[in-house]
């Protein structure tokens, strides 16, 4: 009977939420002479170092933007926050955004976020195996278990791309979901045969003797656009000037970060728990200002091919 009551309460809550739910509140127009407030929700990983560095350098202030950064666990939490207007800008990987757009969510990419280095043995993302593993190339992953941070997303589709490129059977790879920090222990204990990691965990894993068997981002597309900053369609229509200024500041931040790796390594300590000695060693991604449209198309094709979505969204509507 208690279960019953819980179920009933759930229905009431849902009904109430539906009845009074409002969404799409545009950011408050500030008074003349005051800066526009922009809240951005990002993930506390290496990829978003430019926005922290840019804020620190005052690039957003120069564009008359008062930027507030908050961190969230992942795209699945950030997309609703952006669509409902709780924050104006979000950071998410491209596959998640393609999925969101294919389901009809009103999101619009505003500028580039982060890209692969495009160099196979020096990328910030890699598939790793234990020292002494019988897996030597991506093709050997067929029939093996690979850990990814989220299933049916950019991780498994790009790892399958690596396997396909190496001539293996991508359908024969088993994927299991583990958080990035938990993967290395699972690999060493033999729970999984391979792990897909990104920095700083790649460097940490290599330090324990793990061996790299594939650079999944590099195998997917040259200079793959991995993640981008996005806004709600409502905001881009209601306040195109604000979005334009954000993009200008963001592009300046991306360029600055790309040109000043030492400052990036220092900035990492301000919003992640990466220690200075690890920050000094890890491989940084690339931060170009342009979005590699061809690579986004590739991600969309992979997502459709692997059954993540039925139909790719209109890239012209999604990308700037």
């Amino acid at each position: 009977m208690r279960r019953f009551a819980a179920f009933a309460c759930l229905a009431v809550l849902a009904a109430g939420a539906t009845a009074c739910g409002s969404s799409g509140t545009p950011p408050a127009k500030s008074a003349p002479g005051q800066k526009d407030k922009v809240a951005a929700s990002v993930i506390a990983i290496v990829d978003v170092a430019p926005i922290y560095l840019g804020k620190q350098k005052g690039f957003f202030d120069q564009q008359n933007i008062d930027l507030t950064l908050s961190t969230s666990q992942g795209g699945a939490a950030i997309v609703p926050a952006v669509v409902s207007g709780q924050v104006q800008i979000g950071f998410s990987n491209m596959t998640s955004l393609l999925l969101a757009a294919s389901k009809g969510l009103p999101v619009k990419v505003v500028c580039n976020g982060v890209a692969s280095t495009g160099v196979a043995d020096k990328d910030y993302s890699a598939v790793l195996v234990k020292a002494g593993s019988p897996v030597h190339t991506a093709a050997d992953l067929a029939g093996k278990t690979v850990a990814v941070n989220t299933l049916k997303n950019i991780g498994d589709t790009t790892v399958r791309a690596s396997v396909r490129k190496a001539g293996g059977d991508p359908k024969a790879v088993r994927f299991v979901e583990l958080a990035f920090p938990d993967m290395l222990a699972a690999l060493q204990a033999g729970r999984v045969d391979a792990i897909w990691e990104v920095e700083p965990f790649v460097t940490a894993a290599l330090g324990t003797g793990a061996r790299m068997v594939a650079a999944n981002y590099v195998d997917t597309a040259p200079n793959l656009t991995v993640a981008t900053y996005f806004a709600s369609v409502a905001l881009t229509k209601a306040n195109p000037d604000l979005v334009k200024r954000f993009v200008a500041a963001m592009n300046q931040s991306l360029q600055y970060a790309d040109a000043h790796p030492d400052e990036v390594r220092q900035a990492l300590g301000t919003y992640t728990k990466i220690t200075p000695d690890v920050a000094a060693k890890l491989i940084l991604p690339k931060w170009p200002t342009g979005i590699n449209r061809q690579s986004v198309q590739t991600l969309a094709d992979l997502a459709v091919g692997d059954g993540l979505m039925d139909k790719a969204p209109d890239l012209n509507a999604l990308l700037p």
Partner: protein, 257 residues
């Protein structure tokens, strides 16, 4: 009589569902779709291969975990309840262990038991064990001394004493613990599938949320609620059989007063 009971059972849910239906009809909010769409998604999502691929493994893990917790809880509980010395020795430790929320144990369990079904079953056991165990201890401790003495006088011991006296006398308490454990088990079934999973109900609901399949996500939540109702009804049927004597006894006691 039957009509009134049916109305009492289904009346409020029917009203709530109707209210939900009306309030959500025509909703264009992406995250709060109309109930009609959720129900359509329910049909398309769950009546097919998913029933076998996701619902069945979840329920199997719940069944195994719950059964193990039930057996272990009763066995350990009887041993501890019957011996005052053992009880004094173990009580602080038991209180400590039961206070640990099982979800925080998941990363630890992964290290010990891997990422397969064993881990998920252990998580369910680690939560379901305590209500059964502690209630059994209390139930065994509270056995009517007159009955216990009588059994001793008649030299009733061994399995006969265990079955006819100890378990029977403690069964109302054990059943109470088992009922609590069932609802904890359903919660942990879902939580254990949010880590290192590749199948299951909890896993599928999270997967839907992440891939922005919102009506399907809601349908998964509905299914979990319905499963809870069904399991609770099943439990009541079992309880009516197991505790029939007890309810009868209470009714008689009430009537004679």
């Amino acid at each position: 009589m039957i009509v009134r009971r049916t109305v009492a059972l289904l009346g409020l849910p029917a009203v709530l569902v109707a209210a939900w239906w009306v309030a959500s009809a025509g909703s264009t909010d992406f995250y709060r779709p109309p109930l009609a769409r959720i129900l359509a998604a329910f049909r398309d999502t769950w009546f097919g291969r998913r029933l076998l691929d996701d619902v069945a493994p979840s329920l199997a893990r719940l069944a195994v975990g719950y059964t193990v917790a039930l057996c272990a809880g009763i066995a350990i509980g009887v041993a501890i309840g019957a011996s005052p010395r053992l009880r004094a020795l173990t009580e602080p430790v038991l209180e400590f262990l039961r206070a640990i929320p099982p979800p925080v144990l998941v990363p630890v369990v992964i290290l010990v038991a891997g990422i397969g079904d064993l881990m998920k079953v252990l998580v369910i056991v680690s939560g379901c064990l305590w209500p059964v165990l502690l209630n059994t201890v209390e139930g065994v401790r509270a056995i009517d001394p007159t009955l216990a003495d009588t059994a001793r006088v008649y030299h009733i011991g061994g399995t006969l004493r265990l079955r006819r006296l100890v378990l029977r006398a403690a069964s109302p308490q054990i059943v109470t613990g088992a009922r609590q454990a069932l609802s904890i088990g359903i919660i942990l079934m879902v939580i254990s599938e949010m880590f290192a999973a590749s199948s299951g109900l909890g896993f599928t609901v999270v997967q839907f949320q992440r891939s922005f399949a919102i009506p399907e996500m809601w349908s998964g939540v509905l299914l979990l609620g319905l499963l809870g109702v069904l399991l609770s009804l099943g439990f009541r049927a079992v309880e009516a059989r197991v505790l029939g004597w007890y309810h009868g006894l209470r009714a008689v006691a009430r009537g004679s007063r």
